[in-house]
């Protein structure tokens, strides 16, 4: 057995087990961390397919940013897992239907001739083949307009997300960073020059000590 084959089985076994634990773990934080583990192993699988850009982008975007924010939210919520699980049996038929549909679609894509998988170039690419460069070349030349449209849609989504959650409250006090930086020491503090005070009752105290 080739070493890559062993790696494939290791990655895929851990992916499946972690994915199962995502939906069976009782603690939501554990479930989110199992999802991170699943992402990592999927990235390993993609790396085996020489799709290093996708694999590293998956870790960077999903593990490094999305799941961190997700954990951030999950950690702060007090989720009652029993209540979440309450409707399990009544929702099961719908779940099986959706899951079955997904599996059927995937089978149709992977086994069908529509995508011409049989005509794909052989997989043994030279060692210096850069998947990232190829991807960039195709994205920014052949598919430049779809990419631009997709990025504009994403930008609009960002702006909408910000405006939806942006509520300006009148009663909050905010700090003006530029005003704070512009402050000079002489605006806040006044140095007064004065002669030093001399204690007048000093001899009297001395006499008191002697007595």
């Amino acid at each position: 057995m080739e070493f890559k084959t062993i790696l494939f089985y290791v990655f895929s076994t851990v992916t499946v087990v972690a994915a199962l634990r995502v939906i069976t773990a009782r603690n939501p934080v554990h479930a989110a961390l199992f999802l991170v583990l699943a992402f990592f192993n999927v990235a390993g699988l993609w790396m085996l397919l020489q799709a290093e850009f996708l694999a590293l982008a998956l870790i960077m975007v999903y593990v490094g940013a999305v799941m961190v924010l997700f954990l951030f939210v999950v950690m702060m919520l007090d989720i009652n897992i029993e209540r979440v699980r309450a409707g399990f049996w009544s929702n099961l038929p719908l779940g099986i239907l959706v899951g079955g549909l997904l599996a059927a679609e995937m089978a149709a894509v992977l086994t069908g001739r529509y995508f011409g998988l049989a005509n794909l170039p052989p997989h043994d690419l030279p060692a210096n083949h850069s998947n990232t460069k190829e991807l960039a070349r195709v994205l920014y030349t052949d598919y430049a307009y779809p990419l631009e449209i997709a990025s504009v849609i994403l930008l609009v989504a960002i702006i909408v997300a910000v405006t939806l959650t942006l509520r300006r409250r009148k009663d909050t006090k905010t700090m003006q960073a530029s005003a704070q930086i512009a402050v000079k020491a002489k605006d806040r503090m006044r140095l007064v020059k004065m002669a030093s005070e001399v204690e007048e009752s000093a001899p009297a105290a001395k006499q008191g000590e002697q007595a």
């Binding site: 590293l56 490094g64 702060m76």
Partner: protein, 361 residues
């Protein structure tokens, strides 16, 4: 180098070599890789130990104190003594802690800090794996480092660690973005994601031809990005003045409150390994890696070591100099200053590269 080592073993074992080699051959690549990993890790961990010592000495001198000087000559055995002490301390588990994640936290902090070194080149050919997507790998691995803090902060089941986890997840994600955007300009001018090639691209240019190579390195044409990258690097490693994650005056030591012994030491190792990593990355991306600053001196690893030492000194220097940033100021600097600046600069560098005034050909 591999051939030389094999030759040496052949000479060492003499006639016994043939049967031994037949036995070893299938696993030889594994042994060779492990040997290289040990070769990178042991100096790294030694540097981590002495970086802590150096930090205490530097800050001591800056504050007109002496610093550690009792253990060994000039206090040089201090880090060994500290390590031994932490090694023999008991690792305590809080009653309400999530035991499994409590153990996992320090491991998740140190694993990315060490794994990132797999793609760092120290000199031409001195690299564990010379991958084409080296920069992406570094960005991906360093973005995982935040999990150590989040997991340990949550698993401790205590207020201060939890604050640290929330602060860390906000701060490290913010500064990752500006770090990545600053690197995009480097990728644009060097036309590669490979770290060795990024250094190679800095050896060419007008000034390099005149014998003043240090003016051709990326720091000068990309000066604002160099500053953004270095400051984001300080924030990314949660060092002063961006150390609100630990913030000993507010939340005692953040995610490390409940940890003791070796578990605590692992956070410490991770922090200093990350500092050295940022120093190595800055010297590769902006300061020409192992390239010599002037034409008449040869290139070599010593230059890279010197640049890393200078950046590490900068880390310690600002720790001794600046007071801690306020939390809202940290967020403001990351999102309202660095990210717009890097976005504009990417556009500017793109226009510069396409204009007749370009310095990159």
């Amino acid at each position: 180098m591999e051939a030389t080592v094999l030759h040496f073993f052949e000479w060492l074992w003499g006639p016994l070599w043939e049967p031994l080699w037949a036995f070893v051959k299938p696993v030889w690549p594994l042994i060779w890789t492990l040997a290289k990993i040990v070769l990178i890790m042991s100096p790294l961990l030694l540097s981590v130990a002495y970086l802590t010592f150096w930090e205490r000495k530097i800050i001591g001198w800056m504050q007109v104190r002496i610093g550690p000087n009792r253990v060994g000559p000039w206090g040089l055995l201090q880090p060994i003594a500290d390590g031994m002490k932490l090694f023999f301390k008991e690792v305590l588990f809080p009653t309400a802690a999530d035991k499994k994640l409590f153990v996992l936290g320090p491991i998740m902090a140190i694993a990315p800090a060490l794994a990132a070194w797999a793609v760092i080149p120290f000199s031409p050919g001195w690299v564990l794996t010379n991958v084409d997507a080296g920069v992406l790998y570094l960005l991906a691995i360093s973005s995982v480092g935040v999990y150590g803090i989040i997991v340990s902060g949550w698993a401790s089941n205590s207020k201060y660690p939890f604050f640290a986890a929330m602060r860390a997840s906000a701060q490290m994600i913010s500064y990752e973005i500006s770090m990545g955007l600053a690197l995009i300009t480097v990728l644009m001018v060097s036309n590669s994601l490979n770290l060795t090639e990024i250094v190679g691209a800095q050896s060419k240019g007008l000034f390099a031809g005149m014998g003043a190579g240090f003016l051709s390195w990326n720091w000068l044409p990309l000066l604002p990005m160099f500053a953004v990258y270095l400051i984001s690097g300080v924030a990314e490693t949660n060092r002063a003045p961006f150390d609100v994650v630990e913030g000993e005056s507010e939340i005692v030591a953040g995610h490390m409150v409940e940890y003791s012994g070796m578990a605590f030491a692992m956070f410490f190792l991770a922090e200093y390994a990350n500092m050295i990593l940022i120093a190595a990355m800055t010297s590769i991306f902006f300061l020409g890696g192992w390239l010599s600053p002037v034409g008449f001196l040869p290139d070599g690893f010593h230059w890279m070591a010197a640049k890393m030492a200078a950046i590490l000194f900068f880390f310690l220097w600002i720790r001794a100099t600046f007071p801690r940033y306020r939390y809202d100021q940290i967020m403001r600097l990351g999102w309202k200053v660095f990210i717009p600046l890097t976005l504009v600069w990417i556009l500017g560098v793109g226009i510069w590269m396409m204009s007749p005034l370009t310095v990159w050909k």
